[in-house]
């Protein structure tokens, strides 16, 4: 065996280990930039941007395509997120349709209340949804119309998700 071979092998092993460590560090730092992991920071636009990404993720969970989502937990978080979005949008120059998001959430809550046999909460949430839609110029401002929109949204989401069936309520 050539005398330099063990030295070359040692350097190669070192490069391999170094490369692996570097790759792992890059992976971890990339996770920090993920909109789902990073807490929203920066200017008001960036905070709206990041919270919008999170809202999409919560809506995906609320669609419950696989029937495994903890819906009350998801909807509670979505409510907090919409509030944060309102705060971030203030001063960003943007006017995202957050009343529509809140109305959609209210109808999801009403559907959940119906399942939990809580007619009082169900009618409260439906009324809240309707009020929001009325103030946002809907041609048919009703909880049932928003319910149809939700069915379409969930169908779209679940159709996109591999190995899924119809949305589970």
């Amino acid at each position: 065996m050539k005398r330099w071979f063990p030295s070359l092998a040692a350097v190669t092993v070192g490069i391999g280990i170094g490369c692996g460590i570097g790759y792992a560090v890059a992976l971890m730092s990339a996770a920090d930039k993920n909109v789902l992991i990073t807490p929203p920071t920066g200017n008001s636009f960036q905070r709206v941007f990041m919270n919008m990404g999170k809202l999409y993720a919560f809506e995906t969970l609320a669609s419950n395509c696989k029937g495994t989502s903890d819906i009350p937990f998801v909807l509670r978080n979505e409510a907090d997120l919409i509030q944060k979005l309102r705060e971030a949008a203030n001063g960003s120059g943007l006017t995202p349709a957050l009343d529509v998001a809140e109305s959609r959430l209210a109808v999801r809550n009403a559907i959940m209340a119906e399942g939990a046999k809580d007619p009082k909460l169900q009618s409260e949430q439906a009324a809240r949804a309707q009020k929001l839609l009325e103030s946002n110029g809907w041609r048919e401002p009703s909880a049932s119309r928003m319910g149809q929109v939700i069915v379409a949204l969930d169908h779209e989401e679940c159709w996109q998700t591999p190995t899924t069936t119809e949305p589970t309520r």
Binding site: Y23, V25, V48, Y56, V149
Partner: protein, 173 residues
């Protein structure tokens, strides 16, 4: 003494230290290489993923408003969506700019149709021009007003709230 040396006469301890130092030198060389490869592999994908999520939700909410509300609210939702897309560019979120051209074109054409419906002909013409400009940014080809009209009418009849580019990108995720 002879027992502690290899055939070539070197001290095994010194050889071990030499290989260790060479391995560390290799690691120092490999670290930036791994970092560079990793950043190239993950950063772009991660940014694109975040862009698709955020724009998907923004387009969905604006799309719901466009399809369900009266002209003033639909107009406001579309203008705000375009502002959000501009904000993404201003905030260096450039990964989706080309894909966004189609969505931007459709949003402008929807505004043109709304203004036409409201009897604002000059605004409508201006939005048609902007829609054509946006579509041109996509592949350099100029789309006729009739072609755009047909595209938007056809798309508006689908049950989808997202615009086509983001819809397709979100399906791939």
């Amino acid at each position: 003494m002879l027992a502690n040396t290899y055939d070539d006469g070197t001290d095994p301890m010194r050889r071990a230290i030499r290989y260790l130092l060479l391995t560390i030198a290799g690691m120092i060389l490999g670290l930036p290489l791994g970092l560079g490869l990793g950043h190239r592999a993950f950063d772009e994908g991660n940014e694109l993923f975040s862009d698709v999520l955020a724009l998907s939700e923004y387009e969905t909410l604006a799309g719901i408003q466009y399809k369900e509300s009266d002209v003033p609210h639909a107009r406001q939702a579309l203008l705000d969506l375009l502002k959000f897309m501009d904000g993404m560019k201003a905030n260096n979120r450039l990964g989706l700019q080309k894909s966004m051209s189609t969505d931007r074109g459709i949003a402008f054409m929807r505004l043109a149709l709304l203004e036409e419906k409201a009897g604002n002909t000059s605004e409508s013409r201006e939005y048609v021009r902007k829609a054509q400009e946006a579509m041109k940014n996509r592949d350099g080809s100029v789309m006729s007003e009739d072609g755009l009209h047909e595209l938007v009418t056809k798309y508006d009849n689908t049950p989808t709230y997202k615009l086509p580019s983001i819809f397709l990108l979100s399906r791939k995720m």
